[in-house]
Amino acid sequence: MRISRIREAQENGQAAAEELFRLDPLIKKYKGKKGSMIPLLQGAQELFGYLPRKAFLKIASETGLELSDMYGVATFYAQFRLAPVGKHIVKVCHGTACHVQNAKALTSALQDTLGVNDGETTEDNMFTLESVACLGCCSLAPVMMIGDETYGNLDGKAASKVIREIKLNEKNAS
């Protein structure tokens, strides 16, 4: 079970001020329809990048869905996040093919480069490091995905280099 994923909400003031009205069209679309809980949560996460506490409360009060059911569903599926994430989500594939091609080395190198553990977000909210089950690019193993870009045939050094390049780009942009 994914108990380890249930972390204390790390919401700060900024996140609490989410523009909740953006949920309105979504609620209108799904309200009263059967089987709508997962699409509602997926939609809310699409809007905010994660599921803010206030979004739960708003959806519950306006659709009549039970808060406990919603929380149950949100903690059951790997897709849902209860805490804000960094600007870049670094997904390191740990599927079987990547595992036998030493995906462990990628994660440990990235942990060193980013200074966070697996599943955590860097202090500057720039990167979140995640392990995922399978990205389906098994023939390019080991693989990681940042945004929509997939990087294949990596080792620890190459993965760290990608991160450093992104950091550099961010620095130049700001």
Partner: protein, 592 residues
Amino acid sequence: MEKTQVIVGLGSCGIAAGANKTYDAIQNIMEIDHLDIDLKKTSCVGMCFREPLVEVIDDTGYFLYGGIDEAKALEIVERHVQNHEPVKEYIVKSDLFPTKDDSYFEGQVKVALRNCGFIDPEKIEEAEEKGAYKALQKIANEGITREAVIQTVLDSGIRGRGGGGFPTGMKWKFAYNSPGKEKYIICNADEGDPGAFMDRSLLEGDPHAVLEGMAIGGYAIGASQGVIYCRAEYPLAIVRLNIAIEQARAKGYLGENACGIQGFYFDLYVKEGAGAFVCGEETALIASVEGERGMPRRRPPFPAVSGLWKKPTNINNVETFANVPYILLNGPEAYNQYGTDKSKGTKVFALTGKVKNGGLVEVPMGMTIENIIFKLGGGIQDDKQFKAVQLGGPSGGCIPAHLIHTPVDYDSVNATGAIMGSGGMVVMDETTCMVDLARFFLDFTQKESCGKCTFCRMGTKRMLEILTRITEGHGEDGDIEKLEELSVQIKDNSLCGLGQTAPNPVLTTIKYFRDEYEAHIRDKKCPAKSCVQLLTYEVIADKCTGCTVCAIKCPVDAIDGARKEIHFIRQEDCIKCGECYSRCKFEAIKLS
């Protein structure tokens, strides 16, 4: 003279390898040079190891180019398209001359993948040209009854391609026999097995085959609503499915009097999964479609009697549905000419791991593992020693090198202790530690266990703890027996397939590689040199030149020695990172 066709493979793995950039480069040069060519998109032909792929079809023949980045693409346009001189060094397949990659196609029979890589999946006209929806039209034109459709599927002998291997025709018959006006047909596209991507490629490459298969199934069992439950991790597949559904509706293949079958209404929609391996199980999948936590329920009642919204429901896998139109159109004999006595037809495998030619292959059932890995797959990377192959992912088991002549069909594979599964085939060489592999799978199933059954929830956790301990050098006498005992209990006391099969990787690795377990437990050694904590790095005195590189590079200063003196690694401080081993130019570090 026909226009020269240039076709770029844009499946997920192609895109990951940079196929979009290749496509853009060709499009650019086309516009700049006003080239009169037909630039098209297609999906994956299965040769993932040669992505990005570009096909050129002209008056002289067919040429498939592999490993084409932007620069090579421009070279091909200039030399082949403009000057009619094929660039031989990049060609991986052609109908004019043999290539070294031909062995990859030898023995393959494309039934489910018949159109993958040959059509633009976003254009229904191209699918129609290749025969899409012809089977539905045949049903309409010849007035084939629902019973006859089911009989045809029964006669073909096709068994569920998702892993269970239950005869598809029987399943349809059960749903057909269930009373009720409202019935559902569901396509299970929740391909959660890490290391398998057959369904993804099929959905991305030929979504119409799946839609047509579902419509035929809907007609046969009397369902008017279909649901495709697809992993959210497959965004491209979802996009292409939705495009295909729109196009099929517009053409009248779905909806009222679907495909001209009077009185038959059929429509379907895509439901995005949210990431839970257990949702591959039928009853958990249904719970998930209903918006609940995806927890399995007790059977009976089977979904055929009481499934989605408590109505009779039939669930099949993507690959199964993709086979159905072929069977209906060409007859059961055309299908069951392939395969073995009890396993008919063909099966798609995702060949990955330490194999040279990783990709998708579709072969007749009964081909030997040796043939698949060494002929189609081209052998082991870096010509290392083949050790084992994992079939069926976390629910399956490994088949060791000495059983390499095992034919791949349901019964022969089951006899080894593995299962056919959905078709993931992960090849391992001498550097893969089997104990660590078992730990890896248990880590996966333990995380994915929904928590409903105690034996699965707690049992997998305890097994994982034991395996982790063994790989970290703290194994104890009796651990193997404990693992075996737990395995039996978890198998016997779990409700669904996840729990019932979770111990398989452990049981098969113990069965075939017991000596490796014993080496870990008794000698605290990892024969594959993979379990980090069981490794020791030592300086070979004769070879050490005292260059100090290892001492400088050691991140924890665990290496003593001055310039031109023999160095020494203090084992108590060594973190086994391997930095000294990879840095030493004189091969003076011994790993054991």
